[in-house]
């Protein structure tokens, strides 16, 4: 007891005396923790933003279609409007929000230009709830309800077609009967979404006018819903399948393979980065701890000459490492916390945004700290540091006093 107190006092003072080297070791450990945890949080944030953006991009957690729609999203593949047992499932606890849409390819023509778009006949209130329309800035007004035949376009599309709020445009599509369905709509609003591709592609009107235009009264192209947890949807999908046996049911992972791939690639990079951080840290650590032993060969020999046994010398060096380790881990986590608070408003990618848009990610990334990432990063660094301090300690224990005096 007395002896270990003495070892601790010696260790503490030695650490304090070699301030420069101790600071170096301390910051190596702290930097390791900081970079590993922050990188994990950023990668998680990036994945999360990508997935969220994909889900908000009209995808939802789960979609129901007539079989064949995904390969050829046209008027031919339709579902009856939701009713009966399917409605009961959709209104249950397991579903946080749902809607049904008409969704068909169309051509939009202004006085000057024409371009291919996707026409959506929606229930606006529900869309605000579960799609990117909820995040977008709306100029003019939103489509009021499912009977409203006003048309909402993306800002970018309006620019392209050289049209504006109040003007009339023509929507052309294929009707259910195979003939051309065509109708003039008044532009009532413009939406400014995070993704330019969404602004260019989607045009919205009430569900009922869309059904009338296409001649599919009482029918829709898809049902979209949000469950409670995007990573636990299997049970819900099974229930839905029982309620709608003829529908094809897919979750976001099937519908947004690109987002899923992106997340996988990121995890790969994350592991590579962990590897780099850990190799760097361990070199730095072994190096400084070995210096701590070499510089003090004479002192350690003296301790042995005075009657300290080898295992006490080993313990002494290990305690020194532990003091530095505890300090470094504390410092690293405090710095990480400060960084996370500082970045909690999100990192605005600004000028990089064009590049990230291609990846389907928004402009702002929110670092997301997960308990798992935190504990992996911390235990890796701590384990590694302990491992790295064993060698110098072992070396110190093997010093023979006479030789140590001779070489010092």
């Amino acid at each position: 007891m007395i002896r270990s107190l003495m070892l601790f006092r010696l260790a503490r003072r030695s650490v304090w005396r070699n301030k420069r080297r101790s600071l170096l070791t301390l910051s190596a450990i702290a930097a390791g923790i900081l970079s590993a945890v922050m990188l994990g949080a950023l990668a998680r944030g990036l994945s999360d933003t990508a997935i969220r953006a994909a889900i908000r991009n009209l995808t939802g957690h789960v979609q129901l279609h007539a079989p064949g729609y995904l390969d050829d999203p046209s008027i031919e593949y339709r579902l009856p409007e939701v009713s009966g047992s399917l409605q009961r499932v959709l209104d249950s606890e397991a579903v946080s929000s749902w809607t049904q849409r008409v969704r068909v390819p169309a051509v939009l023509r202004s006085e000057r230009e024409a371009t291919g778009v996707t026409l959506l006949g929606v229930s606006p209130a529900k869309e605000l709830d579960l799609s990117m329309l909820g995040d977008a800035a709306i100029l003019g007004r939103m489509v009021r309800d499912e009977n409203d035949d006003g048309l909402l376009l993306g800002v970018k599309l309006a620019e392209l077609l050289q049209t504006e709020i109040g003007k009339r445009v023509v929507v052309l599509s294929q009707g259910a009967d195979g003939g051309v369905a065509e109708r003039g709509f008044r532009v009532v609003g413009l939406f400014d979404a995070e993704l330019e591709s969404a602004e260019r592609q989607f045009i919205f009107t009430g569900r009922v006018p869309a059904q009338e235009l296409l001649g599919i009264k009482g029918e829709v192209s898809e049902v979209v819903l949000l469950g409670q947890d995007r990573d636990a949807l299997e049970e819900l999908q099974r229930t839905l399948q029982r309620a709608a046996p003829r529908a094809q049911i897919d979750d976001w992972k099937t519908l947004e393979p690109f987002a899923v791939a992106l997340v996988k690639v990121q995890s790969g990079f994350l592991f590579i980065w962990y590897g780099i951080v850990i190799v760097t840290i361990s070199f730095g650590l072994v190096n400084t701890l070995f210096m701590a032993v070499f510089e003090r060969t004479r002192e350690l020999a003296l301790l042995q000459a005075l009657g300290m046994v080898p295992h006490q010398i080993v313990l002494q060096i290990l305690i020194e490492s532990a003091v530095l380790l505890v300090g470094g881990v504390l410092l690293g986590n405090i710095l990480t916390y400060v960084c996370l608070v500082w970045l909690s408003e999100g990192i605005d990618l600004g000028s990089f945004a064009e590049g990230t848009q291609m990846l389907g990610v928004g402009r702002v990334i929110y670092p997301k700290l997960q308990w798992v990432d935190w504990s992996i990063a911390n235990s890796l660094i701590v384990g590694l540091s302990l491992f790295a301090s064993v060698f110098p300690a072992w070396h110190a224990g093997r010093l023979r006093p006479a030789e140590a005096f001779a070489t010092a």
């Binding site: 002896r3 003495m6 003296l302 000459a305 005075l306 009657g307 080898p310 006093p401 005096f405």
Partner: protein
């Protein structure tokens, strides 16, 4: 400490030490036989490379002999393991080196108390004994100073205090005055002589210094690892 009446404090018999450095083989000691009585004040002298440090290291258990036997207070120490040697040093040997004798992060008082702490002496007793010892070597006001804040002569005095305070059978001092000017060296020698007389501690030191040889009551001269002369100067 448990040394019998006729028992020597240190007895070495046919002690040899060979250093093998790759192809180079150096025989530092050649079958030395010596006995040093309790309460001696003995000096080992001889030219550089004659084996003084090697002999002191073997006696103190800092190194192990190639052949031969060493007895400290009647106990054979050749063939002991590192742990047992450390234990032996802790209980029976005090060391004074030429320089860097003290643990830099400990104060003078803590340095003196350190060995007692290793021995498991309680806090109050060790502080009292260390303080008394510092007073005895004339460093009463310096207890709180770190080694870096003491002069070379003061550091050597602390080292003497530390070597003696744990009441060892022998104190081994390898060129204790080599880094000191002659006046400081003389007062250190007087201190050691007084400790030897008052406390009956056995001192064995090595030296190049004529001054030190004058203080010694026994002079063992080594040459090429062998005892050349061994004279008792009457006491």
């Amino acid at each position: 400490m448990g040394t019998g009446h006729n028992e020597a404090a240190v007895a070495v018999e046919r002690l040899s030490k060979v250093f093998q450095d790759g192809d180079v083989r150096v025989q530092a000691l050649k079958e030395i036989t010596l006995a040093i009585a309790p309460a001696s004040f003995a000096s080992i002298c001889g030219p550089s490379g004659s084996g003084k440090t090697t002999l002191l290291n073997l006696i103190g258990g800092l190194d192990q002999p190639t052949t031969g036997s060493i007895r400290i207070g009647g106990r054979a120490i050749e063939g002991l393991g590192q742990r047992e040697l450390a234990e032996m040093r802790l209980r029976h040997v005090g060391f004074i080196f030429q320089a860097y004798n003290l643990i830099p992060v400990l104060s003078a008082l803590e340095n003196v108390a350190f060995v007692m702490e290793l021995q498991g002496v309680g806090l109050r007793e060790r502080v009292e004994r260390a303080q008394a010892m510092l007073r005895d070597v004339g460093l009463e006001g310096m207890a709180k100073r770190r080694p870096g804040e003491l002069s070379g002569g003061q550091q050597q005095r602390v080292a003497v205090a530390r070597a003696i305070v744990s009441e060892p059978d022998i104190v081994l001092a390898d060129e204790p005055t080599a880094n000191l000017d002659s006046r400081t060296a003389e007062s250190l020698l007087e201190l050691m002589q007084r400790m030897n007389e008052e406390r009956q501690v056995t001192f064995i030191f090595s030296t190049h210094d004529d001054l030190v040889m004058r203080y010694a009551r026994r002079l063992i001269r080594l040459h090429d690892g062998e005892v050349e002369t061994d004279e008792e100067k009457g006491s």
